[in-house]
């Protein structure tokens, strides 16, 4: 077991590397602390749709990772939630574009719950009946999102941006694609991506390190085989947009605009990739964040309201920025946003704002450390990306003002798609 101590934040990390390849990272909190947070994650998410298995290319329906996340809770003797509840712990799961996580929080029975979590993960139980039954539940989940115009717009906009990349589909898939999911597909994916070598366990909060170590030692002895990692195959994606502009007339209260900037994915190391994401986020905050001159002007001119937001996505072979606004002067807003992004940006990024944002990022990092679940989730996320959460602060220090100016060049007019929902 390796121990690392981050003096500045008064945080320790214990790392256990199992023979089967699984890693366990422990982030203990000193007493008095009551909660233990456990997250088991695999680097298999909504984008991992096509992969090579024994020289054969396997393609799965959109939404497979999310579907599998639901069905992992099915066990031969009933739903796994029952036992978690009986132990007095709260269990949950989530699927992102690049990973699936199973987690629980406990204030008692940690080892029992950990045993149950591994029992659940190690006992796939997919039957035609339970898979078909789940289709109804997931269909209602998807329909719930489809009743939200923001989600519908985002789905449509990503279709306008991407020709082939799976990012164009919702994490949960589509109402049609989930109908094609079978127990065989789930079993195959499970065998290839859920084996212990692919798992990362993050445990944070109140921790009995000795007991945890003993648990994983025993687990390693029972499951000693290390398996090779399966590589996802991504389709080739053009740098061009599928469709640049679209306007739809809808039954909405106020016109809505969603702009998508398709960035050119770079061939960078994982750490460089994290740095790039930080630089882009910083640029956007300085350009259009709440303290920017442009944001104040857009408000003053009644062009935006509180619904205005910016989102970035940095995934394998696909990177983009999404800007959303509601406005009664939607065409004017679109024109101004285009001008800000393409013509005025370099003049608007000031050194003063840059230095302020560095402080903000340090603050945000500390805010994240304050929340057990956020800390453990981010720790796992960065670990899958090949970095430690605590090193991210050092990456921030390396960012220079000149780098931001260079990064700006990646935002080009020809790569901006826009979708408007016009009030009927």
């Amino acid at each position: 077991m390796i121990k690392k101590f981050y003096e500045r934040f008064n945080e320790s990390v214990y790392i256990i590397k199992l023979k089967n390849g699984m890693q366990v990272h422990i982030l203990p909190k000193e007493e008095p602390y009551f909660t233990t947070y456990v997250e088991l994650s695999v680097p298999f998410g909504a984008l991992d749709l096509t992969y090579k298995n024994k020289e054969k290319i396997v393609s799965t329906p959109y939404g497979t990772a999310h579907f599998l996340e639901h069905k992992i809770f099915a066990m031969p003797d009933g739903d796994a939630f029952g036992k978690f509840s009986a132990l007095g712990v709260e269990a949950n799961a989530m699927t992102s574009y690049n990973q699936t996580s199973y987690l629980f929080t406990a204030t008692q029975n940690v080892i029992e719950a950990l045993t149950h979590l591994f029992n659940m993960i190690d006992t796939p139980y997919f039957t035609t009946e339970n898979v078909n039954h789940e289709k109804h539940i997931i269909a209602e989940e998807l329909k719930m999102y489809l009743d939200d115009p923001n989600v519908v717009m985002q789905n449509k906009l990503t279709e306008m941006m991407y020709h082939n990349h799976p990012l164009k589909y919702d994490i949960g898939g589509t109402l049609d694609s989930i109908m094609d999911i079978t127990p065989e597909i789930l079993s195959n994916v499970y065998q290839n991506f859920y084996h212990p070598s692919n798992r990362l366990v993050t445990i944070a909060g109140k921790v009995d390190v000795k007991a945890i170590k003993a648990f994983f030692k025993a687990y390693d002895q029972k499951n000693p085989i290390k398996q090779p990692k399966i590589k996802t195959i991504y389709p080739k994606e053009s740098r061009k947009l599928v469709l640049k502009n679209d306007v739809e007339v809808k039954d909405v209260g106020i016109n809505k605009l969603m702009m998508g900037i398709k960035l050119v994915p770079s061939k960078l190391s994982k750490k460089e990739q994290i740095e790039k994401e930080m630089r882009i986020t910083m640029i956007l905050n300085m350009l259009l964040g709440s303290s920017s001159v442009t944001y104040a002007k857009l408000l003053e001119d009644k062009l935006i309201n509180q619904s205005f937001f910016i989102n970035t996505t940095f995934e394998k072979h696909a990177e983009n920025i999404i800007i959303y606004a509601e406005s009664k002067k939607i065409m004017k807003l679109k024109k101004i946003l285009m001008k800000i992004l393409i013509e005025d940006a370099s003049k608007l990024l000031t050194n003063e704002a840059f230095n302020r944002y560095k402080k903000v990022y340090l603050g945000q990092f500390i805010f994240a450390l304050n929340n057990l679940e956020t800390k453990a989730y981010l720790y796992g996320k960065y670990q899958h990306l090949g970095a430690s959460l605590y090193d991210v602060v050092d990456l921030l220090k390396k960012i220079t003002y000149d780098q931001l100016m260079e990064e700006l060049k990646g935002i080009q007019k020809k790569n901006i798609a826009s979708l408007i929902y016009k009030k009927a």
Partner: protein
């Protein structure tokens, strides 16, 4: 001032303004915290305010208006990073100075900022219909809590918002809001010197004012009231309001909390297991118990084509529970789950801040340990007694129309 000392990596300064909940003051109380935290005498516009917060390592204000029984609470919370971690000796003083400015240093309200906030609130109303879940929630409250302040929009009505002027809201701030019962709670690592500085912040307002008497009350149960509304959507949203006259100080309160947990409070609940897992009628379903109003509300987004079946299934499930009660394992699981919720809350800074305020507001003496003992004491018999008090009062359905696109 109440001080919670602990080792979180952030410090929270939370101030709570309490007054009686009245329809006529809703719009003022909703807009006021937004105005107060958007500018001050020195920070003359939103940009200056944002710059200041960014300079304080991304410190942020969180404001909220909420109803607790007959009371209206406005909270303004400033969160900063612990100055020791970032090695900034002036951070604490700057943050405290900012809080003081936000609360008390307003000679006037900037008219342009007021008009901007007013416009955004109006636009929020204009887009309410686009957000089906929020719309359903608002309409359900309107029907279930008709003739009660709970049924009145928290932001005031659209008419109230349009009629508001900067002069009127400033007058309310000076003559009403600042005279509210105020409670400052500071949560984080605080030195004795800094404690004195915080105390001096509230010095000019030392008179520990009137206490508002708390009343938990709701109208009597009525004959079932059903409203169904059609819109363009893929699902149907079901809202069921149950009359459940067990309030926070009732001896059956802990049994009522456990009952709500068993009904729809977690993934092992009856609603989740039967309506979602067994019948596959929905993705989300839950119940919530408002112990200040004595009601239980059930909410679910269901398959449009099966909404009648889902509605009947939910109603039957509750009736079955009332007739046959619950079993010992359900009781044990719910107690274990709820106990975990309470204990884990103790690790959340925001939970501790809020809990400290509520205990003070309602003069609650009960400690966490005592509360856990009370929960442990709940017996099948107590839950059955609580179940006898449930009666279905209001049903609200928002559904897609017959002509909406079929997708399955």
């Amino acid at each position: 001032m109440l001080l919670i000392k602990n080792d979180f990596k952030t410090i929270q300064f939370a101030i709570f303004f309490t007054d009686f909940d009245e329809e006529r003051s809703s719009v003022y109380r909703f807009l006021l915290p937004r105005l107060l935290t958007s500018h001050t005498n020195k920070l003359i516009n939103k940009t200056k305010m944002s710059e200041k917060l960014e300079d304080l390592y991304g410190a942020y204000f969180k404001t909220r208006v909420e109803r607790i029984g007959n009371l209206s609470i406005v909270s303004i919370i400033l969160t900063i990073v612990d100055p020791i971690i970032v090695g900034d000796e002036q951070l604490f003083d700057h943050a405290l100075g900012l809080l003081n400015q936000v609360l008390f240093e307003h000679d006037v309200f900037n008219k342009d900022i007021f008009l901007e906030e007013q416009r955004m609130l109006i636009e929020q109303w204009e887009t309410l219909y686009d957000k089906k879940r929020l719309y359903a929630h608002t309409k359900f409250y309107e029907h279930f809590f008709k003739d009660d302040t709970y049924g009145y929009p928290m932001s005031g009505s659209l008419k109230d918002i349009k009629k508001l002027t900067v002069e009127k809201i400033y007058d309310y701030y000076k003559n009403v809001f600042l005279s509210n019962t105020k409670k400052l709670i500071v949560n984080g690592r605080i030195s004795d010197i800094n404690k004195q500085k915080i105390e001096s912040l509230m010095l000019h307002d030392k008179k520990d004012e009137k206490k508002h008497s708390f009343i938990a009350h709701f109208r009597p149960s009525r004959e079932l009231f059903v409203v169904e509304e059609e819109t363009q959507m893929q699902q149907a949203i079901l809202k069921l309001g149950y009359h459940f006259p067990i309030f926070r100080d009732d001896p059956l309160y802990h049994a009522a909390v456990i009952l709500d947990t068993i009904l729809g409070g977690y993934p092992e609940s009856r609603l989740f297991k039967e309506i979602r897992e067994q019948n596959g009628l929905c993705y989300d379903i839950s119940s919530s118990y408002d112990y200040y109003k004595g009601v239980i509300m059930v909410s679910s987004g269901v398959d449009l084509k099966q909404k009648d079946k889902a509605l009947e299934a939910i109603k039957s499930l509750v009736i079955h529970m009332m007739e046959y009660g619950i079993d010992q394992s359900e009781l044990d699981h719910a107690k274990a789950y709820y106990t975990h919720q309470i204990k884990s809350g103790l690790d959340s800074q925001s939970f501790l801040t809020k809990r400290t305020f509520i205990r003070d507001l309602l003069n609650h003496e009960e400690t966490i340990e005592e509360r856990l003992i009370e929960i442990e004491k709940v017996k099948l018999d107590d839950v059955e007694k609580a179940l006898k008090k449930i009666s279905l009062d209001t049903i609200y359905v928002l559904r897609g129309g017959q002509n909406d696109k079929e997708i399955l």
